[in-house]
């Protein structure tokens, strides 16, 4: 099994406050992954408001790091045999309905024991 981080990105314009139905959809998606025993870490949702970015020379700006019009809204970690399987899990997430996207990245393990 390999581990993959799913990194959720939302557009700045997308509505930050989800409806009860949207929450239920997300919980169902998460529950479904956990029910397949493929969830390693349910991760966290990241605040859009309480956020600062620290740059070189100790320059600190308010808000998350957003070079493009997207910000990371959360992450979690799944375990699957292949990256394709992790992508399949991501595909079912309701984030795409509100213009978001998901980055799938394998976790690099330095001391991988076989």
């Amino acid at each position: 099994m390999k581990e993959f981080a799913l990194i959720f990105r939302l557009n700045k314009e997308s509505d930050a406050k989800p409806s009860p139905e949207q929450i239920q959809e997300r919980m169902n998606w998460l529950g479904s992954i956990a029910a397949q025993n493929k969830l390693v870490d349910k991760g966290n949702t990241l605040s859009q408001v309480s956020a600062k970015t620290v740059r070189a020379d100790k320059v600190i700006t308010d808000g998350p790091y957003t070079e493009i019009k997207e910000f990371i809204s959360g992450y979690l970690i799944v375990k699957t045999e292949t990256i394709e399987e992790a992508v399949e899990l991501a595909k079912a997430n309701p984030i795409f309905k509100i213009g978001g996207n998901i980055e799938v990245r394998e976790l690099v393990k330095l001391y991988d024991s076989k």
Binding site: Q24, G31, S32, Q36
Partner: protein
């Protein structure tokens, strides 16, 4: 078989279940954990004597008192022999730490205290959580190795090895069967809760058809759990949630088994048979459990069981699904995954739930095939039958095989009338 014999055949195994572990715990007050085998031997011999004598002379008026009197005499004999052995033969070898207190009795309080202390002793952090639970089931509940293996869906060999190692750790522990300290309670309470939870489940979901034994086990677990509420140190939010769960589940004990010992599915149960008093008690303990900002798997499971007791709320299954979504995040188990999918089917329809169920891919689990058989019933009779047949192959329970065979028969009738 005479009526008396029938009664005796029923009574002795039940008494064994209920009293063997208690007797061992009380005897351990005198022998210490180091010599737990002696305590167990005396308890076993006591029950052996009961089975022999009761077959000839009939059951005594007060069987429990009879058992404890025999145990007491056997212990006295043991110490007498030991003294002779130590004095005359083994005097040069260091005596071990057994403290005989010949002026002892078995008041209810001593029995309860001993057993509570014994639970905490058995849940020794030196052992893995799994080993602790196995040990608890064997020593506190009189479970056979096979029954433990069933409860964990593990091979008997694995359990045997686990118990052997765990017993060594238990013997070497300095834990004493006496009033418990704060630190002892803190470090061991989680495992104790889990053990009681599993003990209850072993009764509730037992493959044993004997309703009396099942009830006995559930009662044992609930009684032990209630003992914990009597001590302020162990009366936590979690234990209250666990008791609430036990009450809700117990309220359906009569409704879920028919007079032939077959399991009746939740939806087909006669709700008149649900014990209202136990449901009220469940509500009482659930309210107690929600006094703090604390959640646990026991809270979630009690919540799910609560919603099952309501039949009117139209959003019932949505609430249940939401709780299962949280429960599966706390702890994965195949059964939780399957139950979650069942709730999903209730909210989003059977057809939508089929891909959800198939994703679980628990092809060696009989309940997985039962669920798929159920979900396919209306849309694909052939597949439904296939899954039920696989479930029959996989289950060890006779009653389950019967229930499933009936379902297949019904489906076959439907198939014929459709063509």
């Amino acid at each position: 078989m005479s009526g008396n014999q029938a009664l005796e055949n029923e009574l002795l195994p039940n008494l064994f279940r209920l009293e063997y572990s208690k007797m061992t715990a009380v005897l351990c007050r005198h022998f210490g954990l180091k010599h737990i085998e002696i305590a167990e031997d005396i308890a076993s011999e006591t029950f052996l004597k009961a089975s022999e004598e009761w077959a000839i002379n009939g059951i005594p008026e007060n069987p429990i008192a009879w058992l404890y009197t025999v145990a007491k005499n056997k212990t006295k004999d043991y110490f007498k022999h030991l003294t002779i052995f130590e004095d005359q033969i083994k005097s040069e070898i260091t005596t071990h730490a057994i403290q005989p207190e010949l002026d002892w009795d078995f008041p209810q309080q001593t029995i309860a205290d001993s057993q509570l202390a014994m639970i905490f002793a058995v849940c020794n952090p030196a052992n893995s959580a799994e080993a602790q639970i196995c040990l608890a089931l064997q020593i506190l509940c009189g479970f056979s190795i096979e029954e433990i293996a069933n409860a964990f869906l593990t091979k008997t060999e694995t359990i045997k090895k686990r118990l052997l190692r765990a017993r060594t750790n238990l013997r070497n522990d300095k834990f004493q069967i006496r009033a418990l300290s704060k630190t002892e309670i803190k470090s061991r309470l989680d495992t104790v809760l889990k053990t009681l939870y599993l003990l209850f489940n072993e009764g509730y979901f037992s493959k044993n058809n004997n309703q009396l034994i099942r009830k006995g086990l559930c009662f044992q677990a609930a009684r032990l759990a209630l003992t914990l509420t009597e001590n302020p140190l162990t009366n936590t939010s979690q234990i209250n949630a666990l008791i609430a769960l036990m009450c809700y589940q117990s309220s359906r004990l009569d409704a879920r088994i028919d007079d032939k010992g077959e399991t009746i599915l939740f939806e087909e149960q006669d709700r008149q048979l649900w014990d209202k008093e136990l449901i009220d008690k469940g509500n009482y303990y659930l309210v107690n459990a929600c006094n703090e900002y604390e959640s646990s798997k026991y809270h979630l499971e009690a919540g799910i069981a609560y919603w099952h007791t309501t039949s009117t709320d139209e959003n019932k299954w949505q609430h249940i699904l939401r709780l299962y979504n949280q429960l599966i995040l706390i702890e994965y188990s195949p059964i939780t995954a399957l139950n979650r999918t069942f709730a999903f089917a209730k909210v989003y329809g059977y057809e939508n739930a089929i891909p959800e169920a198939e994703k679980l891919n628990l092809t060696k689990n009989n309940f997985y095939h039962e669920l798929l058989g159920y979900l396919y019933t209306d849309t694909n009779i052939g597949k439904a039958i296939d899954h039920y047949e696989k479930a029959i192959q996989l289950t060890k329970s006779k009653t389950e095989k019967q229930t499933l065979t009936k379902k297949i028969e019904k489906l076959n009738e439907k198939k014929i009338s459709n063509t």
